[in-house]
């Protein structure tokens, strides 16, 4: 991870360091530099899915086939996956690595985003899915690295909520 400076460089390097080769995403403006960098790096197999629960299905199959995968989505996309979590990923004990770009807080301008954001942590907590809201660059690598190792070792999914404090978020321009 030497030379990694930005949040997206740290995430990319940590995925590589943990042998996570598959990245399936539903696009997000804030995640764009990460997605671009992953596409540009031949280490990864990366593509968009039409919907977030589909992405979870794909990484579930990949894990069972011996390939580690991560999914990237926005807060609103998280709102579409509770069934896939509750009826596939959690009961089957799949270490899905879920990265959420947090919308709906710290300057949100869209009420719809703000409301769905409030459902995210209660859903994760009610399913006992390990989740970390990451706000600091100096903690990012440690949290992601250790949590991926824990997910694999304990056969359980983990969610990384990347706060606007970390990523800068999406800013309303009046």
């Amino acid at each position: 991870m030497t030379g990694a400076q930005t949040w997206h460089e740290i995430v990319l390097a940590t995925l590589k360091a943990n042998d996570v080769k598959l990245v399936v995403y539903v696009p997000d403006r804030v995640f764009t530099p990460l997605i671009k960098a992953i596409h540009a790096d031949g280490y990864f197999t990366a593509f968009s899915a039409a919907r977030e629960e589909e992405a979870l299905g794909i990484v579930t199959g990949a894990w069972m086939g011996g390939l580690r995968g991560a999914v990237l989505m926005q807060t609103s996309g998280f709102g579409t996956i509770p069934n896939a979590l509750a009826s596939l990923v959690v009961p089957s004990q799949i270490p899905a690595l879920i990265f959420v770009s947090e919308r709906g807080t710290l300057g949100e301008f869209n009420l719809g985003q703000a409301m769905v954001c409030k459902t995210m942590r209660p859903v994760l907590d009610s399913l006992a899915v390990e989740n970390h809201t990451i706000t600091r660059l100096d903690q990012l690598g440690f949290i992601v690295d250790r949590s991926i190792k824990q997910a694999v070792a304990t056969q359980a999914p983990v969610t990384f909520i990347l706060s606007p404090l970390l990523t800068g978020g999406k800013v309303f321009e009046a």
């Binding site: 598959l22 197999t45 593509f47 968009s48 899915a49 039409a50 919907r51 629960e53 589909e54 992405a55 979870l56 299905g57 794909i58 990484v59 579930t60 199959g61 990949a62 894990w63 069972m64 086939g65 011996g66 390939l67 995968g69 069934n83 896939a84 509750a86 009826s87 596939l88 009961p91 089957s92 004990q93 799949i94 694999v152 056969q155």
Partner: protein, 198 residues
């Protein structure tokens, strides 16, 4: 009835499932969708390379796609019902985009949500799942005209020239068996069947 299916014979899911399994000679993986697709797969005889989906309706094809990406030397078959596929049509676009060669999608189209009381699906009157597949970029998409045609389509699909979508019109007979309902055991058996150590 979907326009493209007008010449397709109405067949039986369990009979076709047995015909599929009979053609699997190379430890192909099979991902069974929730409900009757799963039940008939289970009843056709347990194989270590079978995965039975207990929830997550609509995700049989995405799961199979993930397995196919992880194990490109193994052919992977997804079994899905019409109602389930209609719930997750976007996955066909993803499959069409990726063009994963070792993936076959078998869809059982009886035009009803059979397990929930037989309510009609959109494919009963309007939606043509083969046309939707072709429109999603899956060139190898076809209705199975009859049992022999089904066998032929499966044989071609299993040669890794995919992705392939085969849709069969089926009757409303219920599934023959009932799967085990232990998701961890199902997942662990499947991984062992695929030679994957965690």
């Amino acid at each position: 009835m979907a326009v493209g299916a007008h010449n397709a014979k109405v067949m039986n899911r369990f009979e076709l499932t047995k015909r599929l399994v009979g053609q699997l000679k190379h430890d192909e993986a099979v991902v069974g969708g929730i409900g009757n697709a799963n039940f008939d797969l289970w009843a056709s005889g347990n194989r270590p390379q079978n995965f039975y989906m207990l929830g997550s309706m609509g995700l049989a094809i995405p799961i199979a796609l993930g397995v196919a990406i992880a194990q490109p030397k193994r052919h992977v078959v997804a079994l899905e019902g019409d109602g389930s596929l209609l719930m997750q049509l976007g996955c066909l676009a993803t499959v069409g985009m990726l063009k994963q060669k070792n993936l076959t999608m078998l869809v059982w189209d009886n035009g009803i949500y059979q397990i929930t009381g037989g309510q009609p699906t959109a494919s009963a009157s309007a939606a043509d799942l083969v046309a939707i597949g072709r429109g999603s970029g899956i060139a190898n998409a076809a209705w199975a005209a009859d049992e022999d045609d089904f066998d032929r389509l499966v044989a071609v699909a299993l040669k890794d020239g995919g992705p392939s979508l085969i849709v069969a019109r089926i009757d409303d007979k219920p599934g023959v068996g009932t799967t085990d309902r232990d998701p961890v055991r199902i997942r662990a058996n499947f991984m062992a069947g695929l030679g994957v150590k965690r």
